[in-house]
């Protein structure tokens, strides 16, 4: 069954939320890429905002605005994906507990530390009693939320589904992950990712929500042709076969793909596979990338889906997205992301 994206909203480190222009201006960062926050008072009252951590603000705003954009008040399901969930509230409770040696603690941050606070708060806001799941499979978290949503539509369980990927980065989490050599050791411009010669990436964050439906609305962004992912793939040959088999299963060939968005993140070791693909399997296909805009995080593929759906709707590939200078007006986009040679994911979408 065809699946349509009828609403697409993102809060990210770039000017992506309710902008007139499409990535016209690009923000430069050198370490943490923190999301550009709208004036949340436009969406919630002060009492409501006081209780929300940063991730809850970006989560609730993008989710509710997506529903508004689609004109859907009671979605048939709410599926969310997050790698790390509500880190800020988790850290607050954990720090207080450790600092006071399990002394008197405030329950609010504990209550809001659970991953499913993301999906639950949206349900609470809309009084939506329908299916509601939060997926937490690292860099496949958003893919699972999306796959579940597509299955629910195919099962006839729901017509319109709210699905999103959300993650936040905090200074403390950034520092802890430094020890794992995940980040660039020196400040590094996000606009230089393609010229990187070192290991490590730049961390980012954001929320991207979509309303996907069995029927296309006038506001339709794109059609999801398929989604597939695999935790482990052994070697480049298997990876090429993974692409070919998936395209073939969906009656497509490489020539049908007009643009590939690669999850290049500036880590020379991790990026090798993207360049290898670009020079072989997709050598005749225009290439683009997105993590210089969003930063690296577990649900960055949700940002990529926002980007791809907007490219198709606006009939325009922003210059900043292109790897090569090929002129392209894509009808069909393939998003490929992976995580340290694990969690390979493909999403293919086309014009609706």
């Amino acid at each position: 069954m065809a699946i349509y994206i009828n609403a697409s909203q993102a809060i990210s480190p770039q000017l992506t939320f309710q902008q007139d222009k499409f990535l016209d201006e690009v923000k430069e960062y050198s370490t943490l890429m923190i999301s550009v926050q709208p004036d949340f008072k436009d969406f919630f009252n002060i009492m409501e905002l006081r209780r929300m951590s940063r991730i809850m603000k970006i989560n609730n705003t993008t989710a509710l605005e997506s529903l508004k954009e689609a004109g859907i008040d009671n979605p048939g399901a709410i599926n969310t994906g997050t790698g790390n969930g509500c880190i800020e509230d988790t850290e607050k409770f954990l720090n207080k507990m450790l600092d006071t040696n399990e002394g008197f603690l405030n329950p609010t941050t504990f209550i809001q530390s659970t991953h499913n606070t993301l999906g639950a708060q949206i349900a609470l806001n809309k009084k939506c009693h329908n299916y509601n799941i939060t997926y937490v499979q690292k860099t496949l978290s958003f893919e699972w939320a999306l796959l579940d949503s597509i299955m629910l539509i195919n099962e006839g369980e729901a017509d319109n589904i709210l699905v999103g990927g959300i993650d936040e980065i905090t200074k403390e989490n950034y520092e802890l992950k430094k020890n794992l050599n995940l980040w660039k050791k020196e400040p590094f411009s996000n606009l230089e990712l393609l010229n990187s010669t070192t290991n490590g990436t730049i961390p980012g964050e954001g929320a991207a929500f979509f309303v996907i439906s069995s029927e296309k609305s006038e506001n339709c962004y794109a059609k999801i042709e398929f989604l597939n992912f695999k935790h482990r793939i052994n070697g480049f040959d298997d990876l090429s076969s993974f692409f070919n088999a998936n395209l073939q299963a969906n009656n497509l060939t490489i020539a049908d793909i007009d643009l590939v968005l690669y999850g290049i993140n500036g880590d020379v070791t991790e990026d090798k596979v993207y360049y290898e693909l670009k020079d072989s399997v997709f050598k005749d296909v225009a290439g683009g990338y997105f993590k210089h805009l969003s930063g690296e995080f577990d649900t960055s593929s949700a940002f990529a889906l926002w980007l791809a759906s907007n490219i198709l709707k606006n009939n325009q590939v922003p210059e900043i997205v292109k790897i090569d200078k090929k002129e392209v007006q894509p009808d069909r986009i393939l998003i490929y992301n992976q995580d340290n040679n694990k969690n390979h994911s493909i999403i293919v979408l086309s014009k609706c």
Partner: protein, 394 residues
């Protein structure tokens, strides 16, 4: 298409294996004791369903790499998943697609709270903190990688892993799925529930008029669920059918449930519909029954809404195991399968007087030979995430 249960595995405060758990249940022997393994200042004032094995002991038994390099949730999950795999007599077969889906809330928190302030001592803990780590390691242990997923919907996480697994089989995306829930005790959750003031300092009393709250617990419960095709191919008889599942949201409050039990009612109603059963077809319900004031009254109201004056035989096993959070659905699903397998209903120990507004009396003695056909089990969580499963005799 039908989905079958072909194997079960379990570790909880009342036993390290299926057999040990079954003995404790039959003997009405609780696993709720003084806290000894978890290092917390609250150990003398609280009881919990704690498994009296250290991480080192668990790790040694499983032969997992580097003692103490895996969080406790991961070790418990591998322990139970291994038993389930063996119980199902499953062997890797590249002709069949095998996946692993796990529900959890604690993730790697037990290690994070030890090393958080001393990252130099063991900087690796942050790599094992995310919930998905558990599933990666279980998949690695069983060499089952076709699909891996982790769900975190608070206390309904375990049941939701089974619901997803069943749907993946029905959608022809997997043939066999290792599904379950795992959670360990941690200072984070113990202190968290303490701030909510819903911990009973003594053994909890689910569905009792004078219930004072819940006891936390830990453990892991796993099922192997399988397609008909896969079972036929290997000539294996299943234990029972996973016939129904429902997921709904209460959409009322982050930590409390509605007075009219909307979420629980809807998840049970949906599960009946998927199973194509009527309320009167249910013979036993392993209720969520945490022993908190709020849960038991709203679950009871939802039961009466759905079953009217014919609420089936029911019991909560939380006074045996404690509330194991994301693992509770996993553990209680295994209990439900055992109920069908042995035609057995487990007692709700520590019950004395019914809640006045409900007048509902749980089963308090071991019942055998009731001719159990369909068993329902509930899990309700923070955020109003409610789920129900139904298992049926074949």
């Amino acid at each position: 298409m039908k989905v079958y249960v072909s194997g079960i595995g379990l570790i909880s405060a009342i036993g390290r294996t299926i057999d040990e758990n079954l003995i404790s249940l039959r003997e009405k022997k609780t696993g709720i004791t003084k806290i000894e393994i978890l290092k917390t200042i609250h150990s003398d004032k609280n009881v919990a369903g704690e498994i009296k094995l250290t991480n080192e002991e668990l790790s040694k038994d499983l032969n997992t790499p580097e003692v103490n390099s895996y969080p406790r949730t991961t070790l418990l999950a591998i322990h139970a998943a291994k038993e389930a795999y063996k119980n199902a007599g499953l062997e890797n077969d590249s002709n069949f697609r095998t996946g692993v889906i796990i529900g959890t809330t604690v993730g790697g928190m037990d290690r994070s709270e030890i090393y958080y302030k001393n990252p130099k001592e063991n900087s690796d803990f942050i790599r094992t903190h995310h919930c998905g780590f558990i599933t990666e390691k279980v998949a690695e242990y069983l060499n089952a990688f076709d699909m891996i997923s982790t769900i975190s919907t608070a206390c309904s996480s375990g049941l939701n892993s089974m619901l997803l697994g069943a749907r993946l089989i029905k959608n022809n995306m997997l043939d066999r799925v290792v599904v379950g829930g795992t959670d360990s005790l941690s200072r984070f959750t113990l202190n968290g529930f303490k701030t909510l003031m819903i911990l009973d300092p003594e053994i909890c009393a689910p569905f009792d008029k004078n219930r004072k709250g819940l006891n936390l617990g830990e453990g892991a419960g796993f099922l192997i669920i399988e397609s008909e095709r896969s079972l036929e191919k290997r000539g294996k008889d299943p234990i029972c059918e996973l016939s129904g599942y429902g997921n709904a949201n209460d959409a009322f409050h982050q930590t409390a449930s509605t007075e009219d039990g909307t979420g629980p009612y809807l998840s049970m109603e949906k599960a009946l519909k998927v199973a194509n059963l009527k309320p009167e077809d249910i013979d036993y319900i392993n209720v969520h029954g945490t022993g908190t004031n709020n849960n038991d009254i709203t679950e009871g109201i939802a039961l009466k809404r759905l079953f009217k004056n014919n609420v089936p035989l029911f019991s909560s096993t939380k006074s045996f195991t404690g509330h194991t959070l994301g693992a509770s659905g996993g553990i209680e699903a295994v209990f439900s399968v055992l109920s069908i397998k042995h035609d057995l209903i487990f007692p709700n120990i520590n019950f004395s007087e019914p809640i006045e507004e409900l007048g509902l009396i749980p089963v308090t003695e071991v019942l055998e030979g009731k001719g159990i056909r369909n068993v329902m089990t509930n899990s309700f969580g923070f955020g109003g995430n409610d789920s129900t499963l139904i298992f049926s005799k074949i």
